[in-house]
Symmetry: C2
Subunit: 257 residues, 2 copies
């Protein structure tokens, strides 16, 4: 049994209820969004038009909880550590499985996550400050508009990792090889230019140290679809709890362009 | 005005009614499929699951004929040289515009085409036999199954270009850089292995010479969605007439991975 399958099995049994960062290294992890079919085309269109914040890895058939591309035989109703259920955009419940909340018109979207490109950066010897400091990556709302699609629109959320100029060049090359895991940065340098007023006060996650010889480097962030969904307020939606990702059977190398 | 815009303007005026191969070199051209909204999610899912034969470049908002990513301000109802209108899977009409046939629930899909990777091969000094012979590329139905999505399923259609082994290696590298234009080949060598019984009798296009030191190299082909649509028989659908593609504002380099 693949290690990814073992983790999913432990989630299914209710034994694994913790975050998945740092586990199953080398396996692609994914953000989960589940929506009613009535919103599925528009959301898929939104993801297609905004591939950096919303890189589509897999989309399920209507009513079927199996991601046939990235984890055949997995079950999106049970195989994540922790779920969040939203009604009208409001968080109503956290749960370790969603069997009774699943619907016949449910469509599951699995979106690439930054763990893949962070592993690639670490393997190349590049520093990741928030990993060094043992805290969450800082994330910011920006003034970079996403391309709208039907009811879905809003500005991009970005994550930030400080690097020297020469490290930034390497990081652009390395993360650019993973377009399905947010790809190359969307901006580097001046935070003001993308509407970030105070780099020390992230909107999500924790602030990190930026040293004298470093610039902030910004990547499109998987929190973007969540923020966009907040404004759409779908009558019913389910997502993974932050950090509690879906562990797929794909290896990082399979995401390489 | 960009040269791509000039071509689309000529199509709009009804002045350009010929194929687009060999024109606007360097600009990305696209296959067109227009379907009712009721089929849009399933077809988009089919394309997502089969990115080699069906590389999605742009998808329009419901009822809006503008491809906002690859050609803002273009109009899919007028800007192609020639259209084919299908009812129940049957070709009912060819037309130079589809203004009166457009519907409020229409969704346009623009899919990458092989012109992009053929240009890249030619620029790298690789031979393309059908171009040398001045005929159509040979295309074949295969036994390679596409990943199904709802009502959409079927086998892949491939195009074939003969190359020596060392040319094949180069071609794999070069075309692999264009995943949105069918990408790297899906097979090389034995035609039988993918269900092609007679390489000299293509199902579409013309047979080409394969020399003693060459092997056939097979790429996923944009005819695949048409063949799949034939079996779905949507009550209403529109496509470009073969060879009469949509000329976008994107340059080939923008499709590079």
């Amino acid at each position: 049994m693949k290690y990814s399958q073992q983790i999913r099995e432990a989630c299914r049994q209710g034994v694994w209820v913790k975050p998945t960062s740092g586990t199953a290294l080398g396996y692609v992890q994914a953000n989960l969004v589940i929506l009613p079919q009535a919103l599925a085309f528009e959301f898929m269109l939104f993801c297609h038009r905004n591939p950096k914040p919303c890189p589509l890895l897999d989309v399920t058939d209507v009513g079927h909880p199996e991601p046939i591309l990235i984890a055949p035989q997995a079950d999106l109703r049970t195989d994540l550590p922790l779920y969040r259920i939203f009604h009208g955009g409001e968080l109503v419940q956290e749960s370790t499985q969603i069997i009774s909340d699943w619907r016949d018109d449910a469509v599951g979207f699995l979106l690439g996550c930054s763990f893949t490109f962070e592993n690639a950066m670490l393997n190349a010897g590049l520093p990741i400050r928030n990993v060094e400091q043992g805290i969450n990556v800082p994330m910011y709302r920006t003034t970079i508009p996403c391309v709208g699609a039907g009811r879905f629109s809003g500005n991009m959320v970005v994550s930030m990792r400080p690097l020297t100029m020469s490290q930034a060049v390497q990081a652009i090359q390395i993360t650019g090889r993973y377009p399905k895991a947010h790809g190359a940065p969307v901006h580097l340098g001046s935070p003001q230019e993308i509407g970030i007023l105070d780099i020390d006060q992230p909107d999500f996650g924790d602030p990190v140290e930026i040293r004298e010889d470093e610039i902030p480097v910004f990547w499109a962030c998987g929190v973007t679809p969540q923020v966009v969904l907040e404004s759409v307020k779908p009558e019913w939606a389910i997502a993974h709890a932050p950090g509690h990702m879906f562990v797929s059977d794909w290896k990082d190398e399979q995401l390489m362009a």
